[in-house]
């Protein structure tokens, strides 16, 4: 498989500053083409919601943004930096793993299944990356972690283990853990899909406040209400392509495409 990446394409556009600029993203698993040339642009401070049926490629696109998935073709830029590659002269070089890890510091990610570290307390979960990766002094990291836990309403759970918490609480810890790295971009991969219905609200609440605070967010979600209320842009994907994108009012209120309409009629 070739990376359809040329030095020319990789040098980027540049007139407007974008937090995320993904161009022509292709990704296949074996013979299954999951992304068939997808573009995504997110301006700083914006909340972009990716909607679409299962298998539409929205989660894969999200995972390409921080290089958890390697793109087969196309470029991803986060805040102007090419993700996973470096352009030098006429050539494009793949970045070694530790440099990819370095790039990921600036991008927080929240997973559907929370993925908290079960062998660590809530506080340890939150300070792990700041102390080990950013080498922050422990006392400082702890203090900051307590602030973050207070922000997500879990100040009293610092010494609990993840499995002693409800799903909603775990997901809020996961958000605090990602925020502890002081990211400039947050990715949410179906953050409420594994939650019991009555726990969804508390997580969306935290995300809503985060958005209000100016965080740039890309959210893969099935919560149409959240997308309408918080999203600046809604991107509807199906079959590995972007079918429609625009403001929530346009895409959710006046969908232009039949596929968008039929999807919305099923979930609304």
């Amino acid at each position: 498989m070739t990376t359809g990446l040329t030095a020319e394409a990789a040098t980027g556009s540049g007139d407007e500053r974008l937090m995320v600029e993904a161009l022509g993203i292709h990704k296949s698993y074996g013979s299954l083409e999951v992304l068939k040339g997808v573009d995504l642009r997110v301006r700083p401070g914006e909340v972009t919601c990716l909607l679409g049926p299962s298998g539409s490629g929205k989660s894969t696109l999200l995972r390409c943004l921080n290089h958890l998935e390697r793109v087969d073709a196309g470029t991803v830029r986060i805040d102007g930096d090419l993700v996973g590659y470096r352009v030098k002269g006429e050539k494009v070089y793949e970045l070694p793993k530790h440099e990819v890890a370095h790039q990921r510091r600036g991008v927080g990610m929240v997973f559907q299944r929370f993925n908290l570290f079960p062998h660590m307390t809530v506080l340890q979960n939150v300070i792990e990356a700041p102390t080990r990766v950013l080498r922050q002094p422990k006392a400082e990291a702890r203090e900051r972690a307590r602030e973050l836990l207070a922000q997500v309403g879990l100040a009293d759970k610092a010494s609990a283990y993840p499995l002693q918490l409800s799903g909603g609480q775990q997901q809020r810890v996961a958000i605090a853990r990602a925020l502890a790295m002081q990211p400039k971009l947050m990715l949410f991969d179906e953050p409420t899909s594994a939650l019991d219905p009555e726990l969804v609200g508390e997580v969306l609440d935290v995300m809503r406040r985060l958005a209000a605070g100016g965080m740039t967010m890309v959210v893969v979600t099935h919560e149409i209400g959240f997308a309408r209320e918080v999203g600046d842009t809604v991107v509807f994907m199906d079959g590995g392509v972007v079918v429609e994108e625009g403001t929530p009012a346009d895409v959710l209120g006046r969908p232009q495409h039949e596929r968008t309409r039929s999807f919305l009629s099923k979930v609304l």
Binding site: L68, K97, R105, F117, H119, V133, L163, A194, E223
Partner: protein, 323 residues
């Protein structure tokens, strides 16, 4: 059995505690038990009254200096091989799971070779290494193989390398049992491969690694007896040496067996303790399969099972979409 008395009320018959049922009788069990006890008694009598077995010799030689020397050597050999085996096993397991083709091939070949040949043969080969390579080293920095490879070092090399090969498979299984989401979450936080392994993956893999490692220790303890073929001075070597001098071979083998039983009993007890520590507070903390089943949801002692159990992913449904 008598007929029910007229005064018996329905509640007396069905209410809790009122019912006096006669338990099912397991007559077969009693018969089989009696037969077993009889057979055992016969066997014990046959051994105990056997005039060629000198029981007093066994009693007096159990704390013989030579035997205790052998015992120390056996313990030392076991512990050293196990430590080297665990360290080597982790290294080999990590190599096998690496993206690097060279590391993968080398570690694969290592496991293939050392697991694929009998450990007895490996002991003999290391012991006879001088036949192939009289000198080891480079140029002037070489030493005579016979100086370096004593029976003990040959035994240690063979057992440690063999153990590393087996341990690597156990460790690999443990690493693979850790949910891939854990690695992804750590990587998404900007952690590098080494950190992810050390801080996130290996600590969680320990739960899967520890129980079979206890088994390995007990097995290794007994396997060390194989080094008697090269006279490495272990318990069996010493017992045989003593026994050969005055025709008490069988007695000395019984002495050795008693010590092996003592050691394996201690090791098994230690293993049970360790497992209980790692599985504390779990409803089904017994048995290997339940361990494997539980790693994903219960990695720390003393926790409520259901509270945090990861709920099955809820598909996007109509009523939730309306929120």
């Amino acid at each position: 059995m008598t007929a029910a008395t007229p005064s018996r009320t329905p509640t007396a018959a069905t209410g809790p505690g009122a019912l006096k049922a006669v338990p099912v009788r397991h007559y077969g069990q009693w018969v089989a038990g009696a037969v077993c006890v009889a057979l055992l008694a016969l066997l014990v009598r046959a051994v105990a009254t056997n005039e060629t077995i000198q029981w007093d010799v066994i009693g007096s030689r159990i704390f013989f200096d030579a035997i205790l020397d052998g015992l120390v050597t056996t313990i030392w050999l076991t512990v050293a091989s196990m430590v080297l085996g665990v360290v080597g096993g982790v290294v080999v397991a990590v190599m096998r799971l690496s993206d690097n083709l060279l590391l993968r091939s080398i570690s694969g070949a290592f496991v293939w070779l050392f697991r694929g040949t009998p450990v007895l043969v490996q002991i003999l080969i290391w012991f006879n290494l001088a036949l192939f390579f009289p000198q080891l080293g480079f140029g002037s920095l070489s030493v005579s193989t016979n100086d370096l490879i004593t029976p003990f070092t040959a035994a240690l090399l063979a057992l440690a390398l063999n153990e590393a090969a087996y341990m690597s498979e156990i460790v690999r299984g443990g690493i693979l049992a850790v949910d891939s989401g854990q690695r992804e979450a750590a990587e998404a936080l900007g952690m590098t491969g080494g950190l992810v392994l050390r801080r996130i993956v290996l600590p969680q893999a320990m739960k899967v690694i520890i129980p079979p490692t206890g088994n390995e220790l007990v097995t290794l303890l007994k396997t060390t007896s194989l080094v008697a073929v090269i006279g490495a001075g272990d318990l069996l070597t010493q017992a045989q040496a003593v026994g050969a001098t005055d025709f008490t071979r069988l007695e000395m083998l019984i002495v050795a067996s008693i010590w092996y039983l003592v050691l394996t009993t201690i090791a098994s007890a230690g293993q049970a303790l360790l497992e209980r520590r790692f599985l504390r507070g779990s409803a089904h903390a017994k048995g290997r399969s339940s361990v494997l089943r539980r790693i994903a949801t219960d990695l720390r002692p003393g926790r409520n099972h259901d509270a945090g159990a990861i709920a099955a992913p809820v598909p996007p449904s109509e009523e939730r979409g309306a929120r």
